[in-house]
């Protein structure tokens, strides 16, 4: 991981010095222990701030879209001959690169607007899991040593096996190496175990209907509608989100529980064929709502019904924007 970090800094420095990119979106050390936060570097002397470790959680594709979108807006009233181009360099692991592919498929920007610095990924540490293992105590210090995480809390120092605290979505990740990249910082990482991908979804789908509904409503009753899941999601980029539309008002803003359920159903359904399972929404949820269980179902259906892996191929259209004559139609109602 140190060698990746070193190479990453070198490449970032070179790209900035050669003016190949205007800004590098990457991760830097966070202010809290066991935490790395997104950072934006536009000066080649600052590239030493870049880090790559087990605590790089967020999907950076979100910022690429935001920055390019802001730039596009700022160019609106500029004379054609004075228009400038902005190129964003981004540190991308598998899921980030897939999110970028989705943006490109959906024509949000051009391929040459972004320089992808690929990093092979071995998963990130889930905040909730590590908090659980620390017994809910405040983590004062922490670091990774080999295959364990050493955590210092009030009651002493604890060793936690790294494998136990890696996020669920990383453990079953199919694309831990970038799908597309301009520069690779290291050779490909070892594959995770993607054959376990849908175990949880299959198990849940077999439960009785009422039990599934009870679980769904139980999870959604915890949702406080802070919209953090929406704000962090790289595939959620509508200028006006349906929850904020007032003509018509799609979702009530009161405390009615069905409004929350409907909001979540629709936000998740918007992810059909677009969710790359980066786990960002789960990581940021302050209430720990189990969103992934439902999002993964859409991912599974997309693959089983349309043979489409989200963000795996650049030239492929999104599954709900196209069709095939061979699409299954058993679900179509036939009257007697």
């Amino acid at each position: 991981m140190e060698s990746i970090e070193k190479k990453l800094r070198e490449e970032a420095k070179r790209l900035l010095a050669e003016k190949k990119v205007d800004v590098i979106v990457g991760y830097e050390k966070g202010t809290l222990p066991l935490c790395s936060t997104p950072c934006f570097i536009s000066n080649s002397e600052d590239t030493d701030r870049l880090v790559w470790d087990f605590f790089c959680r967020q999907n950076l594709a979100k910022y690429v879209h935001d920055l390019l979108f802001q730039h596009k807006e700022s160019q609106r009233n500029v004379k054609p001959e004075e228009k400038t181009k902005k190129v964003i360099g981004v540190v991308a692991r598998g899921c980030t690169s897939r999110s970028l592919i989705i943006h490109l498929q959906e024509r949000q920007y051009h391929r040459d607007d972004v320089v992808i610095i690929g990093v092979p990924c071995t998963g990130y540490v889930a905040q909730e899991k590590i908090a659980d293992r620390a017994g809910g105590e405040e983590i004062r210090e922490g670091r990774v040593e080999g295959d364990k995480v050493v955590v210092k809390t009030v009651s002493g120092v604890k060793d936690i096996p790294l494998r136990d605290v890696i996020a669920d979505n990383c453990l079953t990740c199919r694309f831990n190496n970038p799908v597309i990249s301009d520069i690779m910082t290291a050779t490909d990482a070892q594959p995770m175990s993607p054959d376990q991908e849908y175990v949880q979804v299959d198990e849940f789908g077999k439960r009785p209907l009422e039990e599934r509904w009870a679980y769904f409503t139980g999870e959604m009753s915890r949702c406080i509608r802070c919209y953090a899941c929406r704000n962090v999601c790289p595939s959620c980029y509508c200028k006006v989100c349906f929850v904020e539309q007032s003509q018509p008002r799609w979702v009530g803003i009161g405390i009615d529980e069905t409004d929350t359920q409907v909001f979540q159903i629709m936000r998740m359904f918007h992810m059909a064929g677009r969710c790359v399972d980066c786990g960002a929404c789960v990581e940021v949820c302050p209430m720990g709502v189990d969103l992934r269980r439902f999002l993964k179902k859409l991912d599974k259906d997309g693959f089983e019904l349309f043979n489409h892996r989200v963000g795996a191929v650049l030239d492929e259209p999104p599954p709900l924007a196209t069709f095939r004559d061979t699409d299954k139609d058993e679900f179509i109602f036939e009257p007697e």
Binding site: F242, W250, Q261, A272, K297, L305, F333
Partner: protein, 145 residues
């Protein structure tokens, strides 16, 4: 729910999203041919099934529909050539997703009815009404205030 099911007076409310070019005409034909079918459907005319945002369906369920019927042109007969085919993909995923989170699959029904199939439209409505009657009133996701 069991009590409700025994409620003699209860009749299901079904929102039917009908394509302007086929099913809506089919429903019209059923009417002018004086074919009897349950009065449970409330028809919403849409230009094409491809125009239907899945949100309409979820929203109808939230606003008190006991079932939602979506009906468009048979594959290959779309007025806009392929609107119904891309709609089919959306509906397949929506139906799966709603039943995955625990909403009875029989409450969301998708079918094709052409302009000349007035009799088929009546049978579809009969079929959906019967299925929803078995399930009883929609108590999940329905907004009460």
């Amino acid at each position: 729910m069991a009590e409700n099911r025994l409620n003699k007076g209860w009749e299901p409310k079904i929102v039917a999203f009908c394509c302007n070019w086929c099913t809506y005409a089919g429903a019209d034909l059923a009417g002018i041919s004086r074919i009897q079918y349950p009065p449970s459907v409330r028809i919403v005319r849409v230009p094409c099934t491809g125009r239907i945002n899945p949100f309409y369906i979820v929203k109808a369920l939230q606003e008190g529909a006991d079932g939602v019927l979506v009906s468009g042109c048979h594959p290959g007969e779309c007025h806009y050539l392929t609107g119904n085919l891309s709609a089919k993909r959306k509906f397949a995923m929506l139906k799966n997703f709603l039943s995955y989170i625990g909403i009875e699959p029989d409450r969301t029904v998708f079918t094709w009815v052409s302009a000349s199939e007035g009799e088929r439209f009546a049978r579809v409505v009969q079929g959906v009404t019967d299925a929803v009657k078995v399930l009883g009133p929609m108590d999940k996701l329905a907004k009460r205030i």
